[in-house]
Symmetry: C2
Subunit: 231 residues, 2 copies
């Protein structure tokens, strides 16, 4: 059956975005958007993105580069011709990839693209629980942004922002992914390595716990632990 | 008197942004943000931006490049690795520089920067009357975006979006600029030329009408009209 409704899905290449894509594909023809912002495993994530796009036979993909924005939040500000007085940085130990208000940047790109290709829904796999309290990962932010989208675009039908995972646990996400036959073996979550997942970073731990709670084995390869090392 | 409140001012280099900067400078220490998106007179506008920043002795300036986004709305989509099926473009005669939802992109950058340098106000010199009905130039869009900013940022004080010109006429803007000693001679509005303003494009006509209604002469140089040519 040909789907008449088009959507934009934000696909990082990780578990959550793959399951979000599977949910979006149930009722819409999805277009995949990926954003680079200088993350360490950027190329590995892009590979996962491309594999997911191929798996879902996605007709439209867009890779946008906002790595210049990631510099706003840290000491590399000078790259953008900004003069940063010493001792005035926003936070001491801010991660290099952190961008304040990042989801607004990503959703703005998604909205512009949705308007251009006449898509009526934007899917983002944000999970409140995992987001360490980032304000732009909360449901109320997405609701407020959706209103700004409605008032700031010229489409006939308002563009909706869909957050199907926002209040879900990782185990629910894993189970739903399996039920919808999402290609979890093609996803990549590790922030450290690019061949075998490290199994030790926050992102790996969150993912592994989700699979454990769901009672299934994670299909991606992990580094072997050394003797005495705990996962 | 040292101003304790910091602001971000969106400075294109044109008349409206110069007057907006003058208004912002009354109560805040402004930081100037300029955005390039491949407009024809990009370099001339940047020059005006730099001169305005020098005039106001602005400590912080930021030039962000979103020209990749301007391609979302037109046929150059392919630059972003997107496959565009024939006959599917959003509009037939869309201007090259048009970006759907553009002000959301610009305000997202401004918000991220405001959060990073602890600025509490963002000034944008949008004028509803001049905006040919662009939805993202209307007051209600800015109000909705301000709410998204409040919910999507981690600042103690909410960041306000200020639109002091939103319901003003060009003549009011010119008069206010003169009253606040804004350096109108350093601004650039023409979309066509970069040495002498053409005096014939929409932007020039709007500007010239504003000066005429205000009863003062525009201080920037215009091309001489040929015999029989009407301005």
């Amino acid at each position: 059956m040909k789907k008449t409704k088009k959507s934009i899905v934000l696909v990082s290449g990780g578990l959550d975005s793959a399951v979000t894509a599977a949910i979006a594909a149930l009722t819409t023809e999805p277009a995949f958007l990926h954003v680079n912002y200088g993350q360490r495993t950027e190329r590995r994530e892009l590979k996962a993105f491309e594999r997911l796009a191929a798996y879902y036979k996605v007709r439209r993909t867009l890779v946008a580069d906002i790595r210049h924005l990631s510099k706003i939040g840290c000491s590399a500000l000078t790259d953008l011709q900004i003069q940063v007085p010493k001792g005035r940085l926003y936070r001491k130990n801010i991660p290099v990839t952190y961008v304040p208000f990042r989801n607004a940047h990503i959703l703005s790109i998604a909205t512009a693209w949705a308007e251009a290709i006449n898509a009526s829904e934007i899917y983002i796999g944000a999970v409140e629980e995992d987001s360490s309290g980032y304000p732009d990962c909360r449901e109320e932010f997405f609701k407020a942004f959706e209103k700004a989208v409605r008032l700031g675009t010229a489409t006939k039908r308002p563009i909706k922002i869909k957050t199907p995972l926002i209040h879900r646990r990782k185990s629910w996400i894993v189970k739903t992914g399996l039920r919808l036959k999402a290609p979890l073996h093609l996803t990549w979550s590790c922030y450290k390595e690019s061949r075998l997942a490290c199994g030790a970073c926050d992102s790996c731990l969150l993912r592994l716990r989700g699979f454990k709670e769901a009672g299934v084995e994670d299909p991606i390869p992990y580094k072997k632990l050394k003797q005495g090392e705990a996962r």
